[in-house]
Symmetry: C2
């Protein structure tokens, strides 16, 4: 199963830090790739620097047409989830999504759409699921984090990368880091 994140509405400059947090959270919580609709070197460089040091092969990519990308993704054994504060409560829908993902002989790929500013209504229409992480205004970083945590049921927090140059040894009392 591949999990990708599509970041809509990223505003160059203004959103660089929030979008970087969205990207790094996606990587750390188990996604394989983040897609932007326009390039942003600040975000791209931050992501690549983290991957270079901490390992794995998480990708930053830019798509030409996000609608077309969603269409192809759906046709290619994929489920599309749009995260929005107006959607159905994740508490209600998550079990159904996890079951849907396991239907058929290969588990399905997942594309998660996460907007910055106002999201075009096509995103609602193209998505298989419009999901809210509560219906209060908060943060797209929080929403993607909780969705991925629930999708992987905590397992992505154990991910290790053999090619990592830095590795943390978890400790209740002090910082312990291995540099290779």
């Amino acid at each position: 199963m591949v999990v990708e994140v599509l970041r809509l509405g990223h505003r160059w400059g203004r959103d660089k830090r929030i979008s970087t947090h969205v990207a790094l959270t996606s990587r750390a919580l188990g996604a394989d790739k983040i897609l932007f609709v326009s390039n942003d070197d600040h975000v791209k460089d931050s992501v690549n620097r983290i991957v270079e040091q901490w390992g794995g092969d998480f990708k930053f990519d830019v798509v030409d047409s996000w609608k077309q990308y969603i269409w192809s993704f759906k046709k290619n054994n994929g489920i599309v989830i749009h995260l929005t504060m107006y959607g159905e409560n994740i508490n209600e829908i998550m079990k159904k999504i996890i079951e849907k993902r396991q239907e058929g002989k290969d588990s399905k790929n997942i594309l998660i759409i996460i907007g910055a500013e106002k999201v075009p209504k096509e995103a609602y229409e193209l998505a298989d699921y419009n999901v809210s992480v509560g219906n209060q205004p908060h943060s797209e970083v929080a929403a993607i984090a909780i969705l991925l945590d629930r999708l992987f049921e905590g397992s992505s927090l154990y991910k290790e990368y053999p090619d990592a140059k830095i590795k943390v040894n978890p400790s209740d009392r002090y910082k312990s880091v291995e540099i290779r």
Copy 2:
């Protein structure tokens, strides 16, 4: 039980959007208050505007001495959790924290410390638990979101505020908002 969040190392200007996301995520995921160590009108106004429109009585506050605040909090039936990528994996420790919270006749209050930049080592020492949401670099917004989601086991996503001026009606297909 009261849940508070202590934001350390907030840098005025640079961190305003990330810290606002930390604050709004804390509110939406069930915390009662966020404490900063220095004032930031941008963050404070954003929080107050959301509370005014969306209801509840989530508070933004500034503490003079964070170390003293932690000390008093611990003495006053409180548990202190420090979120750090170097800490013990949340998968391992969360059950213990939830049990600890329910010890005694009143359930204990919780203070969550979340840093922006490098956190002074006193934070590690004063905390009852140093907890990581995975040991990969990602985002303090993601970390606080997942910790609160696991602490409340999803229940905070149903929170409703009788004094709200705006309310979302969750929907799988379209935006539906009630204005009162």
